[in-house]
Symmetry: C2
Subunit: 429 residues, 2 copies
Amino acid sequence: MRTITETVPLDHLHGWHHDRSTGFIAHESGRFFSVEGLLVERQSPGAAWGQPIINQPETGILGFLVKEFDGILHILMQLKAEPGNRNGLQLSPTVQATKSNYTGIHGGLPVPYLEYFQEPGRRIIADVRQSEQGSRFLRKRNRNMIVETTEPVEARDGFVWLTLGQLHRLLATEDLVNMSTRSVLACLPLGNDAGAAADEGFGTALARSLAADGPALHPLVDVLSWITETRTLSEMRARTVPLDALTDWAFTGGRIRHRAGKHFEVIGVRVEAVGREVGQWWQPMIRAQSTELAALLVTRVRGVLHVLMQLRIEPGLTDTAELAPTVQCTPADCAQLPPEQRPPFLDLVQNAGPADIRFDTTLSDEGGRFYHTGSRHLVVETDWLPEPLEFRWLTPGQLEDLAQHSHYLNMQARSVLACLRSLYDGGDR
Amino acid sequence: MRTITETVPLDHLHGWHHDRSTGFIAHESGRFFSVEGLLVERQSPGAAWGQPIINQPETGILGFLVKEFDGILHILMQLKAEPGNRNGLQLSPTVQATKSNYTGIHGGLPVPYLEYFQEPGRRIIADVRQSEQGSRFLRKRNRNMIVETTEPVEARDGFVWLTLGQLHRLLATEDLVNMSTRSVLACLPLGNDAGAAADEGFGTALARSLAADGPALHPLVDVLSWITETRTLSEMRARTVPLDALTDWAFTGGRIRHRAGKHFEVIGVRVEAVGREVGQWWQPMIRAQSTELAALLVTRVRGVLHVLMQLRIEPGLTDTAELAPTVQCTPADCAQLPPEQRPPFLDLVQNAGPADIRFDTTLSDEGGRFYHTGSRHLVVETDWLPEPLEFRWLTPGQLEDLAQHSHYLNMQARSVLACLRSLYDGGDR
């Protein structure tokens, strides 16, 4: 089971065309996804920009099948090749399927274990639609599901039962645990029983912070009010336009790239696969120009870990703004900026010493849409710092509550929160 | 303080025009709102329809200022005239202002008490964006706020401090408590202390059901999963089109009406007001062809009240589907339908005997957009009934939890739930 991916010019993708009437790159069947132009306007600070964006108006399933063996929670993980993966196989949820996959539009094979996520009477642990990256996808959401079974389930070829503790430890391996897995992990209620532990280690502070009723700096109602206010006052308006109308972007050399070489480019690929839905296909993909950064600042307040979350407005989000990591940016794009225009806390997390770094691993974006693209996932402990207007210190317990609902945690936040939560050594429940 | 409203032809509204390029009715300033055409397609059951819809892409504030006097919660209510009110004044939240109002686009007077909802450091009880009617408004939401103050506050002319108990009792008066008030009331966490009471009355069953941790037929995670699944599988797509493209609707006699006389019509009005923002203005309004129905079936399960909620897909909702009353329809439009096409439970609630009716009052839709339009609000107690696929028995406590977040309870649900909750006699906390 492997894939071979080669880049090809966007105008040589079999089955895809640059639609003259819309100006989008779309599949001839009208299905899968399209690459469209997006014009974004913000009343304040008066910024406006255009960019390509992926429009895929269907909800896929990202599903964990979980089961207790000898009292220990196990997750059925899939070793899955995706065309954009740098390194071939990555650990993927039990089911990771677009609607086209699981309804058979590809004409491919049935999706293994899908029935556990569709049967009535299943035991649900989490089931929530979560956003994909709001600067790459237009209102795209996936259904993040965790379903527990008590039946005997055989791990088929390419699947493996891992404990939550094993999966947590594997997160520290570069480019191994894929983005969908991180997203679903962030939706898993961890619970904890270390709230009364006496020691003052990082793990204990994290465990205390995971208690749903743990002491938090901001009551949840104030957090919700802050989110409501930001969404209400935001004046971002976005509308799709033909790709040709994006003046900062050029369609040259068979790809679409930013004229200043920033952000990302849209490329074409031809994929040959063995053991996937079909043997060969073509598709557009997103390739970042450099590695991105998703960094969390954490601090202990009266022995309870708090995370500095940013409320970030992104044009592709369904509801305007979602909680994002303390720093979410492309450092290479920020290197030339004067200090006052650099993202808050960027220098602080980039200059953190080894003694303050709790997690530091580069992990891939989803290999079905992103080509050799990933983010450095960084968790840095700091003393308490004052909150800028668009930042709040929240507990992982509060974030876990919010993760049960749509539109609160963005993709990058879920991804790096999964890394932070992996440091809680209570996984093997 | 009163308004005089007269209907005028839509094409004689000063300041408004039928925009040739979009085909919408819009204000010449580009502000306020527009009336647009909407084409709606559903893959299954294959239905498609067109309708006019209001597009008002700004979030207004509906705010209660509350304060304890002698340990009893009071709400500062406003007696407010709206052009669409049948009866002049209705009880309105302390602040009920569109963004155009509170940013002074009207060139009108400042909004009284607005500062309590904008000050940092205010004590928030609830703050959540909630949808307006999803079959009349395109993704419209208002910010529903409840703010407590401990400062002395004088009730200005036209304002009055009412206890929650008084407001609850006034809900039983026809067309008195306005729609915005009902919406905010549904977001107020009631709490309760009657869970252990021994008697078996309706009020006790309601109080028990308001306990956040009360025993419910369905765990909340299963309710969230059901909502996620319905939203994921829904295939409704809606797009705006010129009003002229709506083949079932005719622009004749200065108004837009359904060719079969169903649903509603868009009319024009001229308003003269004393004591409002400006002395005279013109605007389009929605007039329903007959009174609508928002009915709840309730039952007691092991002494705990449960409400039969419907998950309803509406084209103007931001996230596809929201919980709606058991029955939400226009009975006159259903009278000719064969039994299998009538909304489930319509006959049951319409034929309920007086012994089973717990609440029955006709209340107005929002008088700023709806002309002499209202719904019969009906609560009927029944024995337990099996749940059709798109229905679930939920407790008022679960619904109160969900009301703290956006996109769970539709306008009609909040409105009739406020009526049900008014029967809980624990209001004067």
